[in-house]
């Protein structure tokens, strides 16, 4: 059984190392990856025939952002026209009730936060101003930035709701704050 083996190349602590042939399929994989490496190198880095994965990723993210912006226009006119859509306003009201009512009151007539049913505004009364106040917040005054939590779509809906109740002057509301708007 223990015939001397001339293939033994190293012996240490009774562990013998032989220099045997590797399985051919194993070598095939090794050489294939080397060939593949050259192909990949030329296609992606030398000739740039195809976009490299980071570029492809950046392109996809850009396309996604463009599509989102196109679906959620943030112009004064677009927001004002949303305020005339009762379905959107109703959805905005629902988000308002669960998210904003704890500070601005269930009727939006103001509690800790200002009254939203009068015609006085602290940070601008344009539809885009209102959306911006909501998205970025005024942390020093206690208004959180809701953009990251609600997302652009819900911000638009809540803006539509607020535009629809503006200047309705709900009874028992908080005293006006800010500048009057004509």
């Amino acid at each position: 059984m223990n015939a001397p083996n001339d293939k033994i190349v190293r012996r240490y602590d009774d562990i013998e190392e032989e220099d045997n042939h590797l399985p051919n399929w194993w070598l095939f994989i090794l050489f294939s990856t080397i060939v593949f490496m050259f192909g990949y190198w030329f296609v992606y880095h030398t000739l740039k025939l195809l976009p490299s994965p980071p570029v492809e990723y950046a392109n996809e993210i850009d396309a996604l952002k463009k599509a989102r912006n196109a679906a959620n226009p943030m112009s004064d006119d677009a927001l004002a026209s949303l305020a005339k859509d009762p379905a959107i306003v109703a959805e905005g009201k629902q988000v308002f009730a669960s998210t904003c009512a704890s500070c601005h009151g269930p009727e939006a007539a103001g509690l800790v936060g200002p009254n939203l049913t009068d015609n006085y505004w602290l940070h601008g009364a344009n539809p885009t101003d209102i959306a911006k106040s909501m998205t970025d917040g005024y942390p020093e005054k206690g208004m959180p930035s809701w953009g990251p939590i609600l997302g652009a779509e819900k911000v638009r809906k809540v803006t539509a709701f607020i535009l629809s109740i503006r200047n309705t002057n709900v009874a028992g509301g908080k005293a006006p704050q800010g500048d009057p708007v004509n």
Partner: protein, 466 residues
């Protein structure tokens, strides 16, 4: 160690493949193993189709981060439990290897279960037994042989497709899989590519690669020399009883030299799925399939000799010692496995069917001083992990007088595996803030089943001077 086989029994000296064709085997171990194969394959194929608690018994919706297991619903937040599951499995594998060798390979590994339980029987059915196939290897191809080969590969392809589609069904649920098939590969290119790719891998693996995976590729297989010790019980040839090998002479009558019980029929070598000769002693390639035991026992019974010439023994036993089962290594592995399994069990029992976490509201200052009051804004994140819609109530209490607490939505209804952020505003008059910070208590209760969580919340305020 040098053995008569060149390098590997499944490889020639020049590195080319020596394709193993094991002979048929009969006996108690192969019968038992086949029962195991049926149970395991049955579970794999049926698990996605058996409904339990409104969902498949096993569905791993990775894209939706929803995991349905035996009627329980898990989400990504439960993923930490996978660690305990893997530790239980890993320590279990260490334990069983140190105790009984590669039994996982011979009995539980999908590579063996599908190869010996499905593909090899199909091959045997279409192309005949080992003897016929070895004879044909040196003969020219005939029409019948081509036809048999095509039939075998067709059957392999069908089986591979079933296995691959079952795998897809585990991830997307059978109903979804059916809709995907109906809508065609064009609309579900990703799922189609993955399923087709998996089918191709199965075909390559079970048609050609086979035991190469176990003896060259599998990392667990390569680790055997550190997982075994001299007391591990493995499939072993009783050399003292078997040697010297020789024909089954009627020793006493002929007066020929006494020979051992091994008649050198090579049946144990012929049935081996990795092509090794168990009589060379413990080898890394042995998958503990026990087929050589069955083959040898059959011969011993015919010769009216006791069975078990190839049986189970540890290295210590083979050199004349006693079998040692109770030893520190097994105790430590066993204890670690039980610890992992126990922790997993306790975690599962104590799991609440919802998650509730409190954050300071995104983008606000820690506190706002507004005249005579200090305000903190919090946000409670609630996730419903029930399999159905549930109603949650949120209540916050403050241990000081004059606190004004306003919870955005004191009760919320959430569908299964949906979440909500509930804003909470707390105002406390500066006159009550002699000690800061103030510890508030939030109680979130699942009204549908009464389970609740009590979470401490810290109210922050500037240092007060009274």
């Amino acid at each position: 160690m040098s053995s008569p086989a060149p390098i590997l029994s499944s490889m020639k000296v020049d590195g080319s493949r020596n394709y193993i064709i094991p002979a048929d085997v009969h006996g108690r171990w192969i019968r038992l193993r086949r029962l195991g194969f049926v149970a395991l394959i049955g579970f794999y194929v049926l698990a996605p189709f058996i409904p339990m608690g409104g969902h498949p018994m096993v569905q791993l919706d990775v894209a939706g981060r929803r995991f349905f297991l035996f009627g329980q619903t898990f989400n990504a937040q439960d993923f930490w439990m996978v660690l305990l599951l893997l530790l239980t499995f890993a320590f279990g594998l260490l334990l069983v290897t140190a105790w009984r060798g590669r039994v996982w390979c011979g009995w539980g590994c999908p590579q063996t279960v599908f190869l010996e339980g499905v593909y090899r029987p199909i091959e045997r059915f279409f192309e005949g037994p080992r003897e016929k196939r070895l004879r044909q290897a040196n003969e020219p191809w005939t029409g019948e042989r081509v036809l048999r080969r095509v039939a075998k590969l067709t059957a392999f392809l069908l089986v591979s497709m079933v296995i691959a589609h079952t795998a897809t069904a585990i991830f997307v649920s059978p109903r979804e899989l059916w809709l995907m098939i109906a809508e065609g590969p064009g609309t579900h290119l990703e799922a189609f590519s993955l399923t087709t790719g998996f089918t191709a891998i199965l075909m390559f693996n079970f048609t050609w690669f086979r035991e190469q995976f176990c003896v060259v590729l599998c990392p667990y297989g390569r680790l055997q020399s550190v997982l075994h010790d001299r007391d591990s019980v493995t499939v072993a040839y009783a050399e003292k009883r078997g040697e010297p090998r020789g024909k089954a002479h009627k020793t006493l009558e002929t007066g020929a030299p006494k020979v051992g019980d091994c008649v050198d029929c090579r049946k144990c070598v012929n049935v081996c799925p990795t092509g090794i000769d168990i009589r060379n002693g413990l080898q890394m390639e042995c998958l503990a399939c026990n087929q050589c035991i069955d083959a040898c026992d059959e011969v011993m019974v015919k010769l009216n000799r006791p069975t078990g010439l190839v049986g189970f023994a540890s290295q210590t036993e083979l050199s004349g010692g006693a079998r040692r089962v109770v030893r520190p290594r097994l105790m430590v592995y066993g204890a670690l496995m039980l610890l992992s399994a126990g922790t997993l069990g306790v975690s599962l029992v104590n799991r609440t069917p919802f998650e509730a976490n409190v954050f300071r509201q995104h983008g606000t200052n820690p506190f706002v001083v507004d005249g005579e009051v200090v305000r903190n804004a919090f946000e409670v994140h609630v996730t419903n992990k029930n399999p159905a819609e549930a109603r949650f109530s949120l209540a916050l209490t403050a241990p000081v007088s004059g606190a004004e607490i306003s919870v955005g939505t004191p009760t919320i209804e959430l569908k299964s595996l949906t979440d909500a952020h509930v804003p909470v505003m707390v105002s406390i008059p500066t006159s009550s803030l002699s000690m800061t910070p103030v510890e508030l208590t939030l109680t979130v209760k699942d009204e549908t089943n009464g389970s609740q969580r009590v979470i401490p919340v810290r109210f922050m305020a500037p240092p007060m001077h009274h």
